[in-house]
Symmetry: C3
């Protein structure tokens, strides 16, 4: 399977076989982390990490990934330059992307809600970079998707539950909290869970719908795999029989107002829904489910400490898998 030169903006745009290939390679790399098979794959090559939004996990894992592949990841923040965005003048994407592609073998971009005037503007910008750069562009999380997180999630779930997740029950539940979190991670999780044949339940308070296009994709992925799909507004019912529980706060579709992300408004809205927390009692209703989360965890609010730090928590494994998945993606697309 030749993935050289491919952009990765959303897993839904890659074939199931391509995703399998990433996971296969990521697991091989994890099993033999510093093996000579990998450490020269991107020797002397540069991956440019371009952050409109800062990040710890994403930056550390991409930078370590390049070090382990023999290359180097550069850390660039938007504030270092004078870049044109939807809301301010500056260097065009046409110019910035074409120059970056002369220096780097690949470009990662992270741009979240608070840096764009409307939902989807980050996705448009990342695709404009991909249009002008003749090297692969990889989303490091943007307003719509987070493909590296989705693949790390799937890798972790497979490690804990076995390769074949067909027919396993995936619960994605909204969680209480004052963080006004992005849709990117949870949407990507829906897409990969449904691509891999899981029965999908989304539990959220009324009004907390996600992107209709992602829901549509998820529903059709489920259908294709003969799996079930449902959306419920009950904070407890979804736990029944679940194999994977994913609880996380996110914003409503009304998050953007007057051309900007209305974080404070979303926080206030969320305050009305307390008790959407993954507790040990709720986990006891599941079919011995694992608990998954892309981190950072809002402990006590999204999930109880005893669950997050408990024996069925796969959060650190999933976090580690970011490294392996990204090594695999970069090896396949850049090398």
């Amino acid at each position: 399977m030749d993935l050289k030169g491919r952009d990765l903006i959303c897993t839904q745009e890659w074939s199931k076989e391509a995703l399998d290939e990433v996971l296969r390679l990521a697991k091989a790399m994890k099993a033999d982390r510093f093996g000579e098979r990998w450490t020269s794959l991107l020797m002397h090559k540069t991956f440019l990490m371009f952050f409109y939004n800062p990040s710890v996990r994403t930056r550390l894992s991409f930078e370590a990934a390049m070090t382990e592949l023999g290359g180097h990841a550069q850390y660039l923040t938007e504030s270092a330059g004078r870049f044109k965005t939807a809301t301010k003048a500056g260097e065009t994407v046409e110019d910035a992307a074409q120059v970056m592609a002369r220096y780097a073998a690949g470009i990662g971009i992270r741009i979240l809600e608070d840096k764009v005037p409307y939902y989807g503007a980050g996705d448009e910008m990342i695709r404009e970079y991909a249009k002008w750069a003749d090297v692969p562009v990889i989303s490091m999380a943007h307003d719509k998707y987070h493909p590296c997180q989705g693949l790390a999630d799937m890798m972790g779930w497979q490690e804990w539950l076995g390769e074949d997740l067909k027919g396993k029950n995936f619960l994605l539940t909204w969680a209480s909290g004052a963080l006004a979190r992005s849709w990117s991670s949870v949407q990507e999780a829906l897409l990969v869970a449904s691509r891999y044949g899981m029965n999908v339940t989304i539990a959220r308070p009324e009004g907390y719908d996600l992107d209709p296009k992602v829901i549509e994709w998820t529903r059709s992925n489920c259908e294709l795999n003969g799996a079930s799909f449902r959306e419920i507004d009950d904070s407890e019912a979804g736990y029944e029989g679940a194999h994977v529980v994913y609880s996380r706060n996110w914003v409503t579709p009304e998050a953007y107002k007057d051309g900007a992300f209305n974080k404070q408004g979303e926080i206030e809205k969320a305050m009305a829904y307390t008790g959407w927390t993954t507790t040990a009692a709720r986990m006891a209703m599941t079919d011995n489910a694992i608990f998954t989360h892309p981190m950072p965890v809002d402990r006590g609010t999204e999930v109880a400490d005893e669950v997050a730090s408990g024996p069925r928590s796969c959060i650190y494994d999933v976090a580690e898998n970011r490294l392996h998945v990204q090594k695999a993606i970069m090896a396949l697309t850049l090398a």
Copy 2:
């Protein structure tokens, strides 16, 4: 030619043979970018990039250059420390430079107008670093000069027009805009163009003179090569018969006021001169000239989109050449 240990602060201070050597090596490196001849030249060595002013192109290209030579470029900003400058207390250059030289095989410094109290203070500071550091100091652009840009320009022009530029017509024209730009790139371009035997025309509104010393050097370089030199204040006449067109905004000699760079005042002054823009109509007056610019481009103001993105634009090649030229410079001075 042994350039080991040499500082590079302005191309005029290097012999023509030394500049030729840089360009020769840069072209060889470009033709064989990851060739084993180069990838161990600075193995395990550190180049320290010290930025008083942030930059994208300069940072990306130097950092990639070190990665490709087997070493690593560290990114340091002034704000990370408590450095003494012309305007505030802190660690002396004597101390900072001597310590840096213990860790790094070479030091790059970028310091522009808005960080110094008067024109030339950046140049003085870079020379003070060079005095105390017993490793090469390379300008990554300062208030007076930008040698790496000048060499990347020349490499691009030679790629497009052939090695021998003797007798070719170089137009450097001031351009409209609200950016109050530095003299460093355009002054270095004048120096390299005249060193390589081009006929030089500077077009600018009255009052937009550059550093008299640079003009004097340029004039005498031209004389030495039997080439012509002129300064005009017409926004169109210079295009006639040009082979290389370089349009860019810059400030007046009155840019410093009361011990600081008066950016706002310069922007207001520049507003009086609209229409100093490189358009397709003006390019049609040339002898099939290429369009060159050190980027970022102020599109629509310095140059029309159709020219900047047109078939005779060498801007991305010149940007790429920053990488190759800097690899060559570091290989020759640090290795």
Copy 3:
């Protein structure tokens, strides 16, 4: 001696043999800086430098150290994430440390007075990281200790005065100035000087006591070695017969007030004590002492220029030794 996996938070917690081993290896590495014996020791490995406080020397020396050992040091600042601290909500150390340990082979942490609510809170935080991370945690200076500086000091003194410092006279003197400096470097210097058998004199104005536990350790180290220990409040007497003079400003034990570091208050307090400066006249009272300082030097206030730049100043050697000592520490604990 197997030091693999060991944390380094304070030299007092390592055996004398372990410190000797670090110094022996550091000297061998300095004598053969890019020798093939060392350049692959941490090949493709990541060291995470986590800065609550910025730094120049520490960052440059750790990053160069990893480059020279074949690996890479990542630069992370607290502001890049949403970390929980003693004074604000965010990701717990339990989570942050466990994830970091999945990516990095070792973690360095720097956290000084102005980032913690009380003396010792930085030490507690670094130990909490060490508790959760199953890779070595190395202090890159915190409110209590600075082990890498202490070892670099000792290495420099041995280079200048010979391996055996038993019976040599070490003067640590408080110095005038408006910098309200940390106790970490001077406390670590007391510990290493007394571990290596030096007679210790601390000279400081009344009220400028250091941590009683460090004083107790220093006193008992001296006793164990048959060396003398004294604290005096005279700004001159301590120079008599000294072999190593270390002058540096530091704060009083009252530096914290109402849950924060009271820098301005400490600066005002220090202004009452002018004349605590190492001058050539005072150096003339010594037994041809060397002058040492962890830098940056507050010239003219902590020490006269003629001493800091004089023939018996070891400050640049000590600064360089940071690199070699840290290479040795990382090689021994991470490899």
